[in-house]
């Protein structure tokens, strides 16, 4: 069963509805006793890093998530969930969970492309250039776009964490994969069929497939 980690960070129903659609049993909970019984965890979230980390600490989930991933169990971060697994976020100057070495940075002011200034938040559909052939990101044709909405982006300290990159004035890391951890800055649950494919791949991902 898939556990959706509930830490009061935005709306989890869209992830739940996507899992329903792909006929994947799931439970939304913040209870460690329940989450421990799951095979896979999805760690979503929208909102601000400061509040998110505060809620995670209150629910006792910071160490739980760290231990889960360190034990080699599959976890998928989405959007704010992805940012929360880094060491630190510039948003509200927030120390985060620290599973991925690196920092979550704000898009710089004055981003521009061909003389047009680029807006922040980065909102809408953009391409993800996948690197490698991770089982969770398989069968995604080159040039496929996914739905993003964010003002901060993940910046891993080491390249081997990067599973995909996206251009928005700068090139940033939009997908992460390492061991039993995968994470996306975009919203697979809101990215049409290619996004649903990623969720199916994750739910069917067995550790034997891990790199």
């Amino acid at each position: 069963m898939i556990g959706i980690v509930d830490y009061r960070a935005g709306n989890l129903t869209s992830v739940a509805r996507a899992l329903q659609y792909i006929k994947q049993p799931f439970e939304i909970t913040n209870k460690i006793s329940q989450l421990s019984k799951m095979t896979h965890l999805i760690f979503p979230g929208v909102g601000a890093a400061g509040d998110a980390m505060e809620n995670l600490h209150k629910a006792g989930l910071v160490d739980f998530i760290k231990d889960w991933v360190r034990a080699g169990r599959p976890l998928m971060g989405i959007c704010l969930g992805t940012q929360a697994i880094f060491e630190y976020s510039e948003e509200n100057d927030t120390p985060c969970i620290g599973l991925v070495p690196g920092v979550v940075r704000r898009f710089p002011d004055g981003l521009a492309k061909e003389g047009m200034s680029l807006k922040v938040p980065h909102m809408g559909w953009n391409e993800v250039r996948l690197v490698g052939d991770h089982p969770v990101f398989k069968d995604i044709p080159e040039g496929t776009e996914f739905y993003f909405v964010h003002s901060y982006y993940p910046d891993p300290a080491e390249d081997h964490w990067v599973a995909g990159t996206t251009e928005y004035g700068i090139s940033f890391c939009s997908a992460i994969a390492h061991g039993s951890l995968v994470a996306t800055q975009f919203h697979p649950e809101k990215s049409g069929r290619p996004g649903l494919n990623i969720l199916v791949n994750f739910c069917h991902w067995r550790l034997a497939d891990a790199e």
Binding site: G10, N11, T13, S14, R17, A18, Q20, Y21, V46, G47, A48, K113, M116, L118, K119, V120, P121, H122, M123, G124, W125, N126, E127, P141, G143, T144, E145, Y147, F148, V149, E167, Y168, E189, K190, S191, G192, R193, P194, G195, L196
Partner: protein, 259 residues
Amino acid sequence: MLSKRIIPCLDVRAGQLTKGIKFLGNVDIGDPVEAAKNYYEQGADEIVFYDITASAEARDIMIDVVRRVAETIFIPFSVGGGIRTVEDMRRVILAGAEKISVNSEAVKNPVIISEGAKAFGSQCVVLGMDVKRVDRSAKIPSGYEIVIHGGRIYTGIDALWWAKEAQRLGAGEICLNSIDADGTQVGYEIELTRLISTNVSIPVIASGGAGEPGHLLDVLTRGSADAALIASMVHYRTYTIDAIKGFLHEHGVKVRRRW
């Protein structure tokens, strides 16, 4: 690079799809859930629902529509019309919408923007602006005035000022509707769109006046819009979203082509 978004707008009355011409003479043209599914499959990047009913009973029907849409399509969609409180917003978000758009309600009670942004994040709060061209004056320096209740009431508020104010209050996006162009199918209000879009840092969706793909090309390039709302041109099956995107792509506009 980020693609320009093509967004069909569905006006819903008592759970049925309608399309008004200059807000008069609406005719029912079908089931909104089916229409949303159809546009999702055609490659819509997002969908906007506008609930034009007012009664509490009809509102429950709308919540049910939102829930069924959320189970059927997996792209962002927003819901507007009659949202007066953060509690109204919460109901629609829990039913499965990503974004809530506030229009007349925000003019009367701007705090709903900041409260909504605080409760659900700026990305959830879209400011819908209905705008009419007027003579420039000390009060309306941009020459564009905010109107409410479908264009029947002039508010004395300058459109450019309101756009910046809404951004300051925490709106995550602006849906900019020209009442002059709405339903005419002769093209978007390019000057207005460019004025607003280049003066705020949040995305602007152009609305009102689309009749052919060239109109979208114009507003997404000269008008600097981040997204374009369409209605009649797809509701009456004159064009498919795929065909519109094909046209934009041929003319050098980046749009999402694979879904």
